[in-house]
Subunit: 256 residues, 2 copies
């Protein structure tokens, strides 16, 4: 995560705690999920089966996370050193806890972690979720706003979404995406292209019976929306030049 | 999704397309993922095994999505009616496509869907991802900014993240972009234009000494970014037809 504005250590101060997980495969999938998002710390509270081959199969290469997982016999001990504990809940069940969206939770978590605080994201059992005693240990609830008519996120998928938002928060403020790296064309270059385009339309006799003004307005709007870079403009002008060359050859035809 | 500012129908205009999926369990997990986020439309291009009991086991109650899944034998036919096709890619592999973050893709998708357009999110095979031919059918790439040192998101987890961002966009609501009110061109119409463009470049002898593939990739990217409407496409094709006519007249020149 060299591209994060947070110190490397910030992401290392966030741990994922899975409590009373029934299926070891879910532990493996969760390990994979957090690893893809640049996190490594996994704590397990009284898992039903761990270590287990299913965990390693589903970790799909994120074995380093599994191998470094720490086992606890209570959530209290697993989050003992944390000053921010966020509990993933399917929905608020009349619990007197502040409820955060995944993005709000992530912002708060990265802020705390970058200030040197230990942060935990806590996930309960696949079927029953966090118990009331476990929720009491949380400082806020994180709720993924799933469809009320079908809110059954798999444990690892919930971990994936919350880890994804954490990564977004960690990367926030990073420089622009790639994909269009050439220098954008300047306004003057674009005007030069439009003049060339208009001249070419004349040369290839496009305007016959058509309103030149309307057509050019439409084409301007299209190309301005595309916001071509300099290389793209060179390609377009190359095409125009060849179309003009063809038109010139036609006119040079002595039988014309 | 009564709580969304978008009409119910907008989320129904977004389809998830899984191409060449190897493991039926992943199809089930993907069905569950999209259902939790309020989506229902799943299309399958040449899945290795479907229907399959593993799909239903992992769908965990989202069987309605599986039962309504539509099978196709090519990605082209699966996205034929779509005017926005977004391809999930692990990273840009020198592909001449605009790259969007999951949130940017979601905003664009919900904007298109709420304007009545059909939208597809496309996911390739678990191991090999989208093929180059499949990527060519996409109007933009969506990249989940995973940790470069371990970017191996499971298929269903990638679906979950992108569907989650779609749901966030649907719940947040973004005002539709103005200024382009004609019917957008469909994927099939755009492909027709690109074929016409490629043929015209040949006719006007543009390719001499240039890499045809690179040029067409660059032009595809430019025009896909511009997202032309049907009227604009008619103007562009009219220009191509006139350029071709000029080239034909040149060749008919008896003195040639």
């Amino acid at each position: 995560m060299v591209d994060s504005p947070y110190p490397q250590a910030a992401t290392e101060r966030v741990r994922f705690v899975l409590s009373n997980t029934s299926h070891p495969g879910n532990i493996g999938s969760a390990a994979r999920a957090i690893r893809t998002m640049g996190f490594r710390r996994l704590s397990l509270v009284s898992p039903v089966s761990f270590p287990h081959v299913d965990a390693h199969v589903l970790a799909a290469g994120a074995d380093d996370v599994l191998d470094a997982a720490i086992l606890f016999d209570s959530l209290e001990s697993a989050v003992g050193s944390c000053s921010l504990v966020l509990g993933a809940t399917a929905r608020l069940r009349g619990v007197a806890l502040e409820e955060l969206s995944p993005a709000e939770a992530a912002a708060r978590a990265m802020e705390a972690a970058s200030a040197g605080r230990e942060v935990a994201y806590v996930f309960g059992n696949e079927t029953s979720g966090l118990s009331n005693d476990e929720i009491k240990l949380c400082h806020a609830a994180v709720h993924i706003p799933s469809d009320p008519s079908y809110s059954s996120l798999n444990l690892a998928q919930a971990v994936q979404v919350l880890a994804y938002e954490l990564r977004m928060a960690a990367l926030a403020g990073t420089p622009p995406r790639k994909g269009n790296t050439d220098e954008p064309a300047t306004a003057a270059e674009l005007e030069g292209f439009f003049e060339h385009l208009a001249a070419t339309l004349h040369d290839i006799e496009f305007h016959k019976g058509r309103s030149e003004t309307t057509i050019m307005q439409r084409l301007r709007r299209l190309f301005l929306r595309a916001n071509p870079d300099q290389r793209e403009l060179r390609v377009l002008r190359g095409i125009l030049a060849d179309a003009q060359r063809m038109a010139r050859m036609t006119r040079q035809d002595p039988t014309d």
